[in-house]
Symmetry: C2
Subunit: 217 residues, 2 copies
């Protein structure tokens, strides 16, 4: 059974903690701020008030017994870097760290962070995508050229079937699933009518998906 | 041509600003902190130092001419709420706001925010998923039961073809694309060999995808 430790219980760290707990995993939640630690006492297996820049404190915690440690310290970049350094010195196999900016990211890479995250930056990026492609409800980039998108079916394609729309021939992209109000259909029937408000899950070249969005919806 | 205004140039707001600019859109970047504003002067069409809790200042900016305004104010929840209130009073059609916590979210909903985001919370949630499904590199939830995942092909399926693996019959999920080192194949050849290190893009019921991950990879 995997053991996880979360250091830094801001919005990010506490969210990891809650979700791991919800999935039934054991979590040690650590923060130098007692209030933050107490706020999570019902969703952490163990909690600890500690300043993780203190190597001795980390040693006493027995942090080397953990396979995965998440560092969610935000503003104090030096503390985040120092904690990561200690953790890798203690041979913690997987140290995942939230980075504040590019400088922080570069240093973390050099000192061996196994995975680095930029939650605010990444979502800012995604929002720019949503702002400029209003019919796209969600997406995943497969590469710089290909993506999978969820698009809302509009009036324009109401009551038309996939066969009638002939999407692959006209636009080069493919509908892989259709989300109806109460179910997800992963083998969409080509002759079944699409209703306004359905969500089309499509895969293809980004240019083709945009052409489809502008031309068909 | 759409006009965007970004209020609050933290990591989130500045990231929206940079990406919109990168896409060729006009952006007005606003913050009460002059340093933050100056840092973005090369990626914003216009910049402005202003305290957005001041309704007169917003009016003077002509904020009602903007179709989309993003509010990226973080710590000061009251400022974020007040700014959102003013923007909706000015009939700004789309006001998208970053929320700090559930209370903040509820208030924003009530005062008419058109879309609300929780970047740190959402990524914390995703990271818990990645921590517990180590072969999943990325995913998109289609519903509570279905998702699309990107999984790393391991030694175990090296040199096997889709036909040989017979995934749909054994696990009930479908491979919709294969990412090889330099290309994305959205019409994967059922007889072509999969190489360790390829990424399988699969759709299916979450339980089936987990069974596949545990059983086949
Ligand atoms: N040396 C340290 N030891 C332990 N905890 C620390 C240390 N330094 C900072 N923290 C804790 O890390 C947590 C997150 O840091 P902070 O609030 O600065 O980041 P943030 O980027 O705003 O977080 P988030 O975006 O996740 O809300 C805080 O609760 C803080 O008490
Ligand atoms: N009343 C206001 N008017 C204009 N800008 C404001 C106001 N209040 C706060 N801001 C700005 O909002 C920006 C983001 O706020 P803050 O840094 O508290 O949030 P954050 O959640 O840490 O941001 P992020 O997570 O995006 O980095 C700051 O640059 C701050 O100067």
């Amino acid at each position: 059974k995997k053991q996880f430790a979360i250091i830094g219980l801001g919005r990010f760290g506490s969210s990891v903690c809650r979700e791991l707990h919800h999935m039934g995993h054991e979590v040690l939640a650590i923060d130098k701020n007692e209030k933050k630690v107490d706020a999570l006492s019902d969703v952490a297996t163990h909690t600890l008030v500690a300043d993780v820049t203190d190597e001795t404190a980390l040693q006493r915690i027995g942090i080397r017994n953990f396979e995965h440690v998440i560092v969610g310290i935000g503003e104090d970049i030096q503390a985040s870097i120092l904690a990561t350094l200690h953790l890798k010195d203690f041979d913690v196999p997987k140290v995942w760290v939230k980075a504040q900016n590019n400088y922080h990211h570069k240093v973390l890479e050099k000192i061996g962070a196994d995975r680095i995250f930029h939650p605010e930056h990444d979502m800012g990026y995604r929002i720019a995508e949503f702002l400029t492609s209003e019919k796209v409800l969600d997406y995943i980039d497969l590469s710089s050229d290909y993506s999978i998108v969820e698009m809302l079916a509009t009036d324009k394609i109401n009551n038309k079937s996939l066969v009638e729309l002939d999407i692959r021939a006209k636009y080069g992209c493919t509908v892989i699933a259709i989300k109806k109000t109460n179910k997800v259909d992963v083998t969409p029937n080509p002759t079944e009518k699409i209703n306004k408000g359905d969500i089309l899950v499509m895969i293809g070249n980004k240019k083709d998906l945009r052409r489809f969005q502008d031309g068909a919806l």
